[in-house]
């Protein structure tokens, strides 16, 4: 685990260097599209009230100066399956964004949706030596969390300290300087398949870019789509992407659970393609133009040309009614939502005080989805769009860019993770000068 700790710390340093240079790239590696945004940091907040952008999530600190999106290739279920193809797609997106921004970027923050994330809740306790909580005490209580067996070949992607408790007072965000005897903490740990992360790292390295951070797309789309009180009171964000559907539950502004359903909009498209015997591109077009989940009697009369290039007139001139299309789409959408329901139940979403659910992602744009989701997931469902950030092109403000925008916020204001805290002095390797220095600092 130490090497992951080191690599995460290295990424944080890289991110700081990129912030100093002022330009950083955001790369959302999705199943259906790869989006690249280039952010310029203009230093401290320069609020411009006329734009309607407030300071709330630090999104007024930066400006999007380049944006490009390209069709994703070689990515399945949010995981890289063909390295070369994905590398080309990343190159395309990065080059176009660089061209638009007219600036060269070297540092990139990436997110991906797959790799079977698993959530763990960790708890740790520490008896304070003197009654005031110091940074070292925080470090020790974090270090005292017993790490569960996350399985072979898996790595920690996020590790957020969610809650601190001092004696019998819980819900502390920052316990430093407070007085008590026993410090306890809860930590949320998200582990992913290490091979997927390695593939992404390798792919980005092949594009001459340096990785300055990595995040789960379920987490970042929750950051961008949930409004502040939803994050505070408790809400789930369902990011319905192309190949996978990410679930993240937020509480007290911290993510407390994340998971992925390995189904998404692409499965709906392939169902249409198989059911109607039409090419995938045509199926995608029909889905986005005429798709829906609720059929009315009006839809029986709305005929859709399926087209085709087979050269067979009979086949190419077929027409289907919209009801038929909905009849194909709805079971798959229901299946996805049922699966989400199972995951939410498993996570204990029922017991949260507020159970609002926000649907976002490209596949959430199916008309009527909110009604269907309300029937399956619960009454408090809304469709979410990502936060507004400065300079984002109009084309990139839709629900499909929730994770890209969330990654921008992540780049500007990352939440404190386990590796952002100090290392307890006894965990330093023996014979380290740092350790000696720390010992002196602690004892005098």
């Amino acid at each position: 685990m130490t090497d992951l700790y080191q690599s995460q710390r290295a990424m944080r340093n890289m991110r700081r260097a990129a912030m100093q240079r002022g330009v950083i790239a955001i790369l959302d590696v999705g199943t259906s599209k790869i989006a690249c945004l280039i952010l310029r940091f203009d230093g401290p907040e320069k609020l411009r009230e006329v734009d309607g952008v407030g300071p709330m999530a630090g999104q007024s600190q930066f400006r999007v100066i380049g944006a490009a999106t390209t069709r994703s290739r070689g990515v399945r279920f949010g995981e890289i399956s063909q390295m070369n193809e994905t590398e080309r797609a990343v190159r395309t997106a990065v080059q176009a964004a660089q061209k638009m921004a007219n600036v060269r970027v070297d540092h990139v923050i990436a997110c991906f949706s797959g790799a079977e994330p698993r959530s763990y809740g960790l708890a740790g306790e520490w008896e304070l030596q003197d009654s005031v909580v110091t940074e070292q005490d925080v470090a020790r209580v974090l270090a005292s969390c017993d790490v569960p067996d996350i399985g072979p070949g898996r790595e920690v992607l996020h590790a957020h300290p969610v809650n601190f408790a001092l004696d019998h007072r819980t819900g502390l965000a920052d316990p430093r300087g407070q007085i008590g005897n026993r410090l306890a903490c809860d930590m949320h740990l998200l582990s992913v398949d290490g091979a997927v992360v390695q593939n992404l790292l390798y792919c980005i390295k092949r594009c001459d870019l340096e990785l300055a951070g990595i995040a789960s797309s379920a987490y970042v789309s929750g950051k961008s789509s949930l409004v502040e009180d939803e994050q505070e009171l408790g809400a789930a964000c369902i990011d319905m992407g192309g190949g996978s559907t990410g679930i993240s539950i937020f509480m007290k502004k911290h993510m407390i659970y994340a998971d992925t359903v390995r189904m998404g909009g692409d499965h709906v498209t392939s169902d249409i393609s198989k059911g109607l015997q039409i090419p995938l591109s045509m199926a995608e077009k029909i889905k986005t133009k005429h798709g829906g989940v609720y059929a009315t009697s009006m839809d029986d009369r709305e005929m859709i040309e399926t087209g085709g290039e087979s050269g067979d007139w009979e086949k190419d001139r077929r027409q289907i009614s919209r009801t038929e299309l909905i009849g194909i789409m709805r079971p798959r959408v229901e299946e996805i939502l049922e699966e989400v329901r199972i995951r939410l139940d498993g996570a204990g979403f029922d017991s949260l005080p507020s159970q609002s659910i926000v649907l976002t992602g490209g596949a959430s744009q199916i008309p009527g989805l909110d009604g269907l989701a309300a029937r399956i997931l619960g009454p408090q469902v809304r469709l979410g769009r990502p936060l507004r950030v400065q300079g984002l092109p109009q084309a990139a403000t839709g629900a499909a860019f929730a994770s890209a925008v969330g990654l921008c916020l992540f780049a500007a204001h990352p939440q404190d993770e386990w590796w952002d805290f100090e290392i307890p002095s006894e965990r330093y390797p023996a014979r380290s000068i740092k350790r000696a220095f720390r010992w002196f600092k602690d004892n005098w």
Partner: protein, 300 residues
């Protein structure tokens, strides 16, 4: 029945890959690097231009040819008839002086106006004593116009058996063969008279009433002036305030007719006490009139 002609080849068009190749991608990133961009857009042209010039100049013969070509063009341009000066016209000078000026200017004509060193010529001309200042100007039509301001002689200076004319600043104008050549000018003499010419002129102006009797001014010891009148009379002026002293004397003369008496010298050097020296006859007369016996000093 099917035609047996060449079968149409159905070649599936390979769809163009929108992704840039690795090299294309790298080149674009390199091009977006500010340092590289500056080097390419400024450094490279400078380097190429410098290299071309350097290679050209490295050969001595080429360099010489280049310089020669430049010189030829310059020569050709300067020798165009528009710029040639063929005549000198001297204005504001007497004919003799004009000749001297022409000779002194030392210009070989015709010459291009680019090659005339007018400053040097002007300095040479102004070295002539008779020239107060000269102004040289190339006029259209190839005429070099020299405008001379002559020095105006205001007095004649006799020194060491030379006779010179001086202007009001005391600068020498020309020599004279004899005093009679310029009888209209007052005469001064003595060492340093030229340096005190201004004072001499003031004294002369003050001496206007006795001018018909005035023979000349003598500078004594390069310090003060003596006025020499006819009948060997001499007025000795003080070193300072000479004009005031002279004016007092003239006022006295007007009232008492002093200078018409038989005096040898009027000594005004001491302001408090002007001293008259009488001639021998007058002295005797005076003594007689005062009833004093002529003493043995009558032979004085």
């Amino acid at each position: 029945m099917q035609s047996l002609g060449p079968q149409r080849v159905y070649q599936r068009q390979l769809r163009r890959d929108p992704a840039p190749s690795r090299w294309q991608y790298r080149m674009q990133r390199l091009w977006l690097t500010p340092l590289f961009r500056t080097l390419f857009r400024v450094g490279l042209p400078v380097l190429v231009a410098g290299g071309v010039v350097g290679i050209y100049v490295a050969d001595g013969a080429r360099r010489a040819a280049f310089v020669q070509g430049y010189e030829d063009i310059k020569e050709k341009f300067q020798n165009r008839p528009e710029f040639m000066v063929g005549l000198i016209s001297v204005e504001g000078a007497s004919p003799e002086l004009a000749e001297a000026v022409r000779a002194k200017a030392g210009l070989t004509l015709p010459a291009s106006s680019f090659k005339l060193d007018l400053d040097l010529a002007r300095q040479r001309i102004e070295n002539l004593d008779a020239v107060a200042s000269a102004e040289l100007r190339v006029r259209p039509g190839g005429v070099l116009q020299i405008m001379i301001t002559e020095r105006v002689p205001v007095m004649v200076w006799r020194i060491d058996d030379r006779i010179e004319m001086l202007d009001e600043t005391g600068h020498r104008v020309a020599s004279l063969e004899s005093r009679g050549d310029r009888a209209d000018l007052p005469l001064v003499a003595g060492e340093g008279a030229d340096r005190a010419a201004g004072e001499a002129l003031e004294v002369l102006a003050a001496a206007q009433p006795i001018l018909p009797r005035l023979r000349g001014l003598v500078r004594i010891g390069d310090r003060r002036w003596d006025l020499v009148l006819d009948r060997d009379q001499k007025i000795m002026l003080p070193e300072h305030n000479a004009v005031a002293a002279l004016e007092r004397l003239i006022a006295l003369d007007r009232a008492e007719d002093v200078l018409a008496r038989d005096l040898l010298t009027v000594d005004l050097r001491n302001e408090e006490r002007p001293v008259l020296r009488l001639a021998q006859g007058a002295m005797t007369e005076r003594r007689k009139a005062m009833g004093m016996e002529p003493s043995g000093s009558s032979d004085l």
